[in-house]
Symmetry: C2
Subunit: 426 residues, 2 copies
């Protein structure tokens, strides 16, 4: 970890730069996987599952028996916890549904937008060391609220050909009927182009390793929509003398344990707070099961002292963090200054874990500075808004001449003629 004191503004652009991900080598590998899935469909999926997940499967779809076993396997208290999270996420996302507003822009010219669900969506849930069943809530609940007809879930099987029961339990709870045991780039290819068992979808959501990310990037070039570009997860904490260094350290670690490439940044106008948080970090780190991962992530972490909270916010805006924990007592006075962030956590009791699991906000958020132009996942991500318009006779009479003049000025006489014919008929 590195400590900076009042870095010069001209050095900020270096400080906010994320490590570059190597992309070149990946490209070929992932392209060849996609090509094979397009060519041989399920055969390729089974082959790659054998190759990468070390299991030979007969069937890709998870059976009803497996789902029922998963439901029995989950302890009641975890079921209750998931239920609480589900309810809060549902409540927050339901509030995102918009009412249609018809706007009469000119007399007889009525225009409106209608939200219509994307028909087929695919959710990718990684397997591996942390079975992210919480991500199923974060993607499946807004998909259901939006009204997507078909929601398909892909997740890699373990070496025994099984899927983590918490994943199956949560998928079933949300009402996702089709869960397939397939992971990696091959899963993304299957969702993008379809195979005999897995239907093609219009949009693909979910986190993943660099193969998955690359595959999403490549299929996007073929017109399949994706939730957003991805990079390593990150947190930026702004703390001052009123913050609790134990909480700050815990929040930094909860990001660091995600992966060795996680980004962890602490900004403060108070040097003692930085030192206290650093000390506490060392203490808490010792007891963590994932301490080796967290240590690696912390090697690249940055602790920066600034002259003021305003400077901290200005730097944060330039960094555009996925998660911004604003852990000061006066945070609420500064919210209007925040222009780039995925999700903001205000005050000492709003830890990132709350938003990761159960407060109701979505945890699929823009990383890597993408918060400058992208939003996190919401119900909006699962719909498109179709515009409608209806002009009456009065409507076309009112604006017809303006259209004719503009079309003519653009040299588009057929556009003009479509109006002239109508005006002449009246």
């Amino acid at each position: 970890m590195k400590l900076y004191k009042n870095p010069d503004k001209k050095d900020w652009s270096d400080l906010v730069t994320r490590p570059t991900l190597q992309k070149k080598e990946l490209n070929e590998v992932v392209q060849s996987i996609i090509r094979e899935v397009k060519l041989t469909g399920d055969d390729a999926l089974l082959k790659f599952t054998q190759m990468f997940d070390s299991i030979s499967l007969d069937e890709l779809i998870v059976s009803e028996k497996e789902i029922n076993e998963a439901i029995s396997a989950i302890p009641d208290e975890l079921k209750e916890a998931i239920g609480i999270a589900k309810q809060n996420i549902k409540m927050f996302h339901q509030s995102q549904i918009e009412v249609e507003k018809v706007v009469e822009t000119s007399p007889g010219v009525n225009c409106w937008r209608k939200s219509v669900a994307i028909e087929n969506v695919g959710l990718y849930i990684p397997g591996g060391s942390a079975p992210l069943f919480s991500t199923i809530l974060m993607l499946g609940i807004p998909a259901k609220i939006a009204g997507c007809k078909e929601i398909v879930l892909c997740t890699p099987p373990n070496k025994n050909g099984a899927v983590n029961p918490a994943i199956l339990y949560t998928a079933n709870l949300i009402g996702i009927k089709k869960v397939y045991k397939v992971g990696g780039a091959q899963a993304i290819a299957a969702l993008a182009y379809g195979t005999a068992s897995i239907g093609k979808v219009n949009k693909i959501f979910g986190p993943g390793n660099q193969y998955v990310t690359k595959a999403k990037e490549l299929v996007q070039q073929d017109g399949v929509a994706i939730d957003m570009p991805a990079g390593p997860s990150e947190v930026l904490v702004i703390a001052d003398a009123t913050s609790n260094p134990d909480f700050v350290a815990a929040d930094l670690l909860s990001q660091a344990e995600h992966g060795a490439d996680s980004q962890v940044i602490l900004l403060s106008d108070n040097e003692a707070m930085i030192n206290d948080a650093l000390l506490e970090l060392e203490i808490q780190l010792k007891d963590l099961p994932r301490k080796e991962i967290a240590k690696k992530a912390l090697e690249n972490s940055k602790f920066i002292l600034f002259n003021s909270v305003e400077d901290c916010i200005a730097f944060s805006n330039e960094y555009a963090p996925e998660h911004l924990i604003f852990a000061t007592e006066s945070a609420e006075n500064y919210l209007d200054l925040i222009v780039n962030a995925g999700s903001v956590f205000i005050g000492k009791y709003s830890c990132e874990s709350a938003g990761d699991y159960a407060s109701g906000t979505n945890h699929t958020l823009p990383t890597n500075g993408f918060a400058k132009s992208y939003s996190g996942v919401s119900v909006d991500s699962f719909i498109k808004k179709i515009t409608f318009q209806k002009l009456t006779k009065e409507g076309i009479q009112g604006i017809g001449n303006a259209i004719e003049l503009m079309a003519e000025a653009e040299g588009l006489f057929a556009h003009k003629n479509a109006v002239s014919l109508r005006l002449n008929s009246l």
Copy 2:
């Protein structure tokens, strides 16, 4: 043009397929242009402008003098027409602004979303045969309503080094201060990476030829957001015995004149309507200044007879047209059946030209079937929604245990610890 009668449903997927755009050869050319702009900045821009637009410029930025000359050059009646369009577009897009709603998902857990403008956006306006000043209204007005701080416009100069006065007039009317004389892939590269004269932007909007489209696709892979993937423009008209064949023909032609690759489709449950529209098409075509372009586009057009209006809609949903003109008297009874379309024009007086110019809806819409997953441009395109949350003591006490259990089940103990520390402090 081809006529089909009640095509079998299994053949629909062939019928809705757009011609593939060659991409491979383009890739290298565009990549080398981007590379050079990244390396030598303005020098590369001036070099490519000399090469592709046949003009050697001293300065890229349009001067105040040029803008004032453009303002004088535009006839008053065109100014009035643009004013009417501006007012309607503003009114419709202003209605898209959302009010922040704070949702208390659990006692003491408050969550909300805030719309914040993307700070820097770039608009690309093609030059060439049709000076699309209307597109400046469609992109600039929502950008202004969203509150984007910096709006930069790039458009290629003509052989004399000038920009069409209607483009300069409209940009000035909207309040766009920075207009640069640069087009093609080099303009997109400048917007994406910045040069000495053109600042880097976070998101790039606007139509263009295949070089521009390819460049947008490539810079998107570097994390620069773009409005949407692009393809040739298209219209699908649904007509029945109640439709006016003259209007239908005019609407088809107003799409066909856009470009030789434009897609034009007519669906009907009435064979006489198709025949009448075809006859009328030939008549109207003769007088069009852009008839050679329109003729080429019509070579690939499809006229399809179906058994019912419902079948027409089902086919349209599978095609997912950019523009859907629903030209029947009973159209309004069927609107709920429409699931995939960019913009829908209802009844005999709602011609596409209205939405292209002055009704108030946006004309930057998803083509190439992307309407299945993408929306057209709106104020949403110029903002990101940042989520906020504030938990009180009561809030974390209420949901803390659920978070602990879920974090533990995902094997993320630092996530759990961030909550436990807080709960223990209370």
